[in-house]
Symmetry: D5
Subunit: 149 residues, 10 copies
């Protein structure tokens, strides 16, 4: 009996390790970006029926698991409120060190409001560099203004 989406994520991860599946290949099968597809496999997005069935084939999931892939999950992928894994912590550090800067510059350009994390996309790329390759990440979020009422 599956009672939490995390159980399906565990099945996906287990199959991925055993079968040496790559996220970029899964994304190509689904026909969407590697960022969205990986997030969905890791329990942060909901697949539609057709996508779920493809994922089920790739990772050998039961029908019950495939049904769960179409349910909107309780989102959040980190076990602690301050992440401790060094790679993820660096992102938390960026928010901590640059948080007030980001706030100032977006308000200076756009006024009061936020950069949406829902109408949002992310693209992660390798940039070759003689001093050591770099990870380049583009975040794109719609600006949503606060309005008076």
């Amino acid at each position: 009996m599956i009672t939490h989406r995390q159980q399906v994520t565990d099945m996906i991860i287990s199959a991925k390790v055993l079968k040496s599946i790559k996220w970029t290949d899964v994304a190509k099968e689904i026909g969407l970006s590697k960022e969205w597809v990986t997030a969905a496999c890791l329990g942060q997005m909901a697949f539609n029926k057709e996508q779920s069935e493809k994922i089920g084939q790739i990772f050998d999931l039961s029908d019950e698991a495939v049904a769960w892939l179409q349910i909107v999950p309780y989102k959040g992928s980190l076990p602690t409120s301050v992440p401790i894994d060094p790679l993820i912590y660096r992102w938390y550090e960026v928010v901590n060190v640059y948080g007030s800067t980001i706030k100032e510059l977006i308000h200076e350009e756009f006024g009061d409001g936020i950069m949406s994390a829902i109408d949002f996309s992310m693209d992660i790329q390798r940039e070759e560099n003689p001093n050591g390759d770099r990870v380049n990440v583009v975040l794109s979020g719609k600006f949503l203004p606060y309005k008076t009422y």
Copy 2:
């Protein structure tokens, strides 16, 4: 007597509001990106002597305050470990929802290691869009591999 860098940040903020100074103008005076200069004004980076003096003139700072601008600060710009301001929270949310995705995709591309938050730059731009303008942010960090020893 100034005993913490925060006091200088407070002076800068206070002068900024009173004199309606813009961060992008400050950055042009200094000749560096708006992201780095704003972060430095907000107490996250250290200025060199020449830069400090220019900042002192722009914000009418005392010599003691200018001396403090050259001291490496205790970094971190957020008052709580989980930020509560809605704009900054959205960034925390991105780390929370996409954290495991970012980790998976960087490891898939680069192997074990991290994306540096030190050898790092950020660029925030407005992208015009008929459905509502977007905030586009490019993060660029050197990949640092874990090695065996």
Copy 3:
């Protein structure tokens, strides 16, 4: 020297108590809802220039304070992450008891996405009732869908 928006909020609160000003009267002067105007006075929204000057007259604020009213504040009006004031705690309790219900019902009706807290308005009214008057609150937020990319 004013260095944080909270100082201006303190001035407003202090003047309000001394002069027995009512929020609903302030809202009428500004010509907007009592909910938005009170939130703005309490440091959660930014006033424009004209509104700020009216607020300055009502609460006898200095020019520096009036300048601060136009700055986008670091939002968040509660001193602790779990509120302890009994009235505000009841709202936190509603989120805690009904949180999963709200999530289920919005997803059932709209699919994956959120109810915006930015493109959002609130209206608080007294409902007369022979068993004891009731507080009726209408929350209205735009639905923002997660999309694939």
Copy 4:
């Protein structure tokens, strides 16, 4: 052996996903609002005997599970004190940003006291809107005054 109400909630959720049951249909069967019925299914309210038996039929529950549905549960539906799911977080954000405003306006209208979260109801509706549909939520709680003694 069932030792916690959460186990029954898990059974209900699992059956719901497998059988594609909708909360609004469950509510119609029970003859009460979708908000109360969903909250009760999710372990926040107690059903009476007759309601429990209907719920048991809908979700194929054992007699033991049906008995548990009539027990007053330990309420609270969120896994962390600050919710991390984006949809539920937006509600927490509303309490955080508007908390002091709500407090001020209720006290201005009613004097010292609270808006009850017990003698309370909630109604969630879709409001069609050319700029994007909205989620409208009406919260209604009895005002309970503090009295001297």
Copy 5:
């Protein structure tokens, strides 16, 4: 300039120590229970105009402070979420050790609902006892039932 009710509480406490005032005497002057009056002096309840003026005379408060006594305060009298003072901790311990018992017995007698902390009174008395005097406390709170809707 008074900006928080705590400042008035501080004035009351300071005067109380200097002038050796007793809470029971203050309560007699006001004509209400010692429990309510002490709580109000400590910033947990709002006085009416007449009561505030009497309190102002007793503790030599300024007019501004007297005005603040009539404002509904942000309630909560403890500096930490788990109290550390031994006397107050014992009460927290009672809630911790007997919390589930209280819940079970009230639900067994009344069904689902709560014991109100708003429509509530408290009476603290010394009970003489040859084995050592006892503190007897009577808590009385209206039962508020959860109802279906």
Copy 6:
């Protein structure tokens, strides 16, 4: 194999739901107050041999479980340091709102010391009232003075 007292509490709770046992009836069988007996069943007090055997009969417990009932438990019945169940939270709220008042009034009457939570008893009663029945709770704790040494 039973390794924690909580397992026995789970068995008792499970049997109670299945067999619709009432705590007041259990208390009558044991011949002690409903408050103490419920607390003991819920793992907060230790039964003696004879009491344990009666409890074992009432709830159909194994010999091993009966042996555990005589072991002093690790006390504390709440899953979080700030309780989230609305009924139990109201008690926490009373400690929070009235904590400083209780401290002041006990010290005014008795001097420095505490009200014991060990040499302590509690009695919960329904008080009929035309405006809605009330929960009346009497707490009685020995006063323990701090002494010099």
Copy 7:
């Protein structure tokens, strides 16, 4: 204006450093143990009138400060719930490592109950030892049994 006992503790500490006063000498003047007297000076116990006046003379305190010494303080001498000073942390570590042992052995000897921290005394002595002198501390607390009722 003194509004918290901590201010008096600060005055005592400041005078102690300036005048190189020793706690053991203060204790001799008062005629009580160095442990109790130091705790009282540090704001954990209340002095009587005569003792307060002596303390006032030793540390050159104002009459207002002397009045405060007779008020029962809000106890607790540590700034964080897990102490970080290495000397005090070692005591916390003892509670952590030996906590379950202490509980088991006291219950084995005395049955259910606690060792009082109110009817309690402490004696700290140097024990000379060729391998390095030792700190010997004797804690003595009355056993308080839980009783049935």
Copy 8:
């Protein structure tokens, strides 16, 4: 498969309850103090080979469990950073109320340094007393000075 020392502690506790074994008797068999032996059984110290085998016989442990008894455990016997069991809490309270006193008096006698929690022993004894027996505990720890370098 045993993967954590806690599993062995659980086996020991389970056998102890079933067979009514006393810690003082275990200590006599091992030939060491009841404090050290109990702490070791509870997973805070490592036994040597001979001691482990005796413990294995007393509690009927498997060879794998006996092997685990010789592994240095991850120490710490409390489930929360602030203990909630009343008996153990009283010890935390002593550290909280007397912490600064202990620090002052050890530094006054010994200078800068700590009382070791490693080169440490503890002895718990019953002291008969007509006013109620007392728990006497002697803590002995080597003083370790901080030195300059």
Copy 9:
């Protein structure tokens, strides 16, 4: 089914205890430092294919477990954010007591930047000493400067 790297770590630890394997011997087999190999076995580093197979032979792991050893783990080896085991706590204490010193001295020597924890190695050695042997640890991390951009 293996779903988390921790399960493999548990298998390794269990085999290590049963077969009395030493980390230094494992390191010799792998041909790398004992610090890196132990960290990798404990789930903090990823092995390559050849290393994983050797580890699998040493600890009798299944093929699935061996596959997991090559996956980059979610790093972090401590169960709580402030470690409670006395040995590990001493390291946390060093960071706490010397943290600001380390920061000052590295900045004085190198300017703004950090000491890398990725391009990092550690070497733990016994230093014989007539006053008691010492643990000597050499930490070596590349200095990474913050640069302007």
Copy 10:
């Protein structure tokens, strides 16, 4: 009036910035290592009388401040339990990632016990390296064994 050692640390830091003093020069004047002297200036160690006076001359401190330098401070140099400054965080990360490794290897070499953080020294050096200079830190702490008693 100085009431906390932190005030003296603030004076030292303020003078250091204004007069561009280097820690290594201060250490040479005192004749001890730069690590110990910096830690002592930052309020983590106590100076003796002669050292304090030299420090007083270097930083122009008052006699009262010099007296405070000889008082054993409440140690701990970080504002939060998990440090957020990137340089100091890397050290916390090392403890987190390598904590269990350090524990395993010290126990394997020395048996049960700890590496002292009191009988401890630290030496920070620059190591020139063509791939970028490195920070080398040697930590040396006496091994303190747990013994049976």
